[in-house]
């Protein structure tokens, strides 16, 4: 019994790890393809059919590159930086419910590594630790551009974490739980038997705030000031080369994948799809279809991240801070207030 549990969890962990890395690797490819298509170009098409092996080629190149550690850098912290960035990026996948329950031979297997009753706070904590990777790396490089990038990153992430947390609080008020799995299950059915809607209908303002903050937390355009090429050479990873640089870049894509997953769970029903309980399918089929739908949602949001990136130019730093502190945080507080008010008025 205990061994079968262990095997099932091990398989799940390895699968989630592999899928996360796979999606991240192909996000780099997708990014370049999407950028090309949005600019009437072709994108990478030399390595394999349609350039499908481009991520492998990139990875190989990164590994073969010379590894340079600056003489004046703090060696230990210099290596620690990208490690933390990658570690925290991968850690968030633990609490994501990738699907509902599979029933095999009378035993039920949940497609989630660990069910925490405070899942969303866990994601939040991991994200807040993630900034250390950038800060430590930027500081240890002993380079003013890296340091400026690191400082920008930390200030930006702290500012937007607040608005993000506040937007989640409004969502938690409506759902009444902090568990990602329960939040998913509460949105089951969609338009159909139970008349449950996706949370985005109840929390449109919260969704927009969360989305903007997710962009800022992932350091994606228009909030990619920490690695602003025009001002800071490469930002916090100016001094990095070879696989350590790859880890930083990779962590960004893993973060994007995880935040797409979190957005889908919180506001777009996670592994639920419309009419799921009306088609008369059995439990396992629904679960597998649900996982497929979940990944479709994630793919859409990853595409959305890229779409925005190739549409909007970068913010100026004061605009970024103004948006975070003077627009999003008051808006989120008002959102909490109104949500609470509505909850009190309707609960009677």
């Amino acid at each position: 019994m205990i061994s079968s549990f262990l095997i099932y969890k091990t398989i799940l962990v390895v699968a989630v790890f592999a899928i996360t890395l796979f999606v991240a690797a192909y996000s780099t490819y997708a990014e370049r393809k999407v950028a090309a298509f949005l600019q009437d170009r072709v994108g990478p098409d030399r390595a394999g059919p349609f350039g499908m092996f481009q991520p492998l080629a990139d990875g190989l190149k990164f590994m073969m590159k010379e590894e340079i550690i600056p003489d004046s850098a703090n060696r230990f912290l210099f290596i620690l930086g990208p490690s933390i960035a990658m570690l925290t990026a991968l850690m968030a996948g633990v609490v994501i419910p990738w699907g509902n329950t599979l029933v095999i031979n009378g035993e039920s297997y949940t497609l989630q590594i660990a069910e925490l009753n405070i899942g969303i706070l866990y994601v939040f904590a991991v994200v807040s630790i993630g900034v250390y990777g950038i800060m430590i790396g930027g500081w240890a490089s002993n380079n003013k551009f890296s340091l400026l990038g690191a400082i920008r990153a930390s200030a930006q992430m702290i500012s937007y974490e607040i608005a993000m947390g506040l937007s989640i609080i409004a969502l938690v008020i409506t759902t009444g739980t902090l568990s990602l799995r329960e939040i998913s299950l509460l949105q089951a059915g969609g338009v159909g038997s139970d008349w449950n809607f996706w949370n985005v209908l109840y929390q449109p303002v919260g969704f927009i705030i969360f989305l903007i903050c997710a962009f800022a937390e992932c350091n994606r355009t228009p909030f990619d000031l920490p690695e602003c090429e025009t001002e800071l050479v490469g930002g916090y990873h100016t001094e990095y080369s070879s696989m350590k640089l790859a880890l930083y870049l990779f962590a960004e894509y893993v973060n994007m994948f995880i935040s797409s997953a979190v957005i889908s769970i919180l506001y777009f029903g996670g592994f639920n799809f419309p009419f799921m309980n009306d088609l008369g399918l059995d439990q396992n089929t629904i679960t597998i279809l649900g996982t497929v739908f979940f990944f479709a949602k994630i793919t859409f949001f990853i595409f959305f991240f890229m779409w925005i990136r190739w549409t909007i130019p970068r913010f100026r730093y004061d605009q970024l801070m103004n948006l975070g502190w003077k627009a999003l945080i008051p808006l989120a507080v008002i959102n909490i207030f109104i949500t609470g008010l509505v909850m009190i008025l309707t609960s009677k």
């Binding site: 405070i118 706070l121 866990y122 904590a125 807040s128 250390y132 500081w139 340091l147 400082i151 930390s154």
Partner: protein
């Protein structure tokens, strides 16, 4: 038994890194050791089934406050030469203050074994039970704390306000 071993391990890490915070020459390293200390203490919360406290501890202390610490230290670029020399009187005063704090802490924890057994219940870390306790039994301290934070916030805004150029 593994819980007890884990407790000893976490305590060892916490105490060791706390000592390193004090003794390391580089302020940057001090901050990083402090973060490790926070994680070890967070581990203790987990051992007591207080998941919520653990996560909030990580978010608030490790994720926000220590980032600001790091931020300031990065900007100041502290090193040993530029560190201001502290006078003997100041050191003496600091020793006395630290000693007093230790005394208070020891006095406070002397009665720790008289804590009600309910505190170690399994549901102690759950958000619902915590919220219930916080907003009924400990409402007054909670509100006082929030007023304190508000005062600190107002103070920070006052300090951060740009001085008027035409003043004086």
């Amino acid at each position: 038994m593994p819980t007890l071993n884990l407790f000893y391990f976490l305590s060892f890490v916490a105490v060791l890194s706390a000592l390193l915070v004090v003794f390391s020459k580089n302020p940057m390293h001090s901050v990083l050791y402090l973060i490790i200390t926070f994680f070890a203490i967070g581990g203790h919360y987990l051992l007591m089934n207080a998941e919520f406290l653990f996560v909030v501890h990580i978010i608030v202390y490790a994720g926000a406050i220590m980032v600001l610490f790091l931020y300031v230290i990065m900007l100041l670029n502290l090193n040993q030469e530029s560190e201001p020399h502290k006078s003997t009187v100041l050191k003496f005063a600091a020793t006395i203050c630290g000693g007093l704090l230790l005394l208070i802490l020891v006095a406070a924890f002397k009665g720790a074994d008289q804590l009600p057994a309910a505190a170690t219940e399994h549901t102690v870390g759950y958000v619902k039970s915590l919220g219930m306790v916080l907003f009924t039994e400990y409402l007054l301290p909670f509100e006082i704390t929030s007023v304190l934070l508000l005062a600190a916030m107002v103070g920070a805004v006052m300090l951060g306000k740009p001085e008027r150029l035409n003043k004086g």
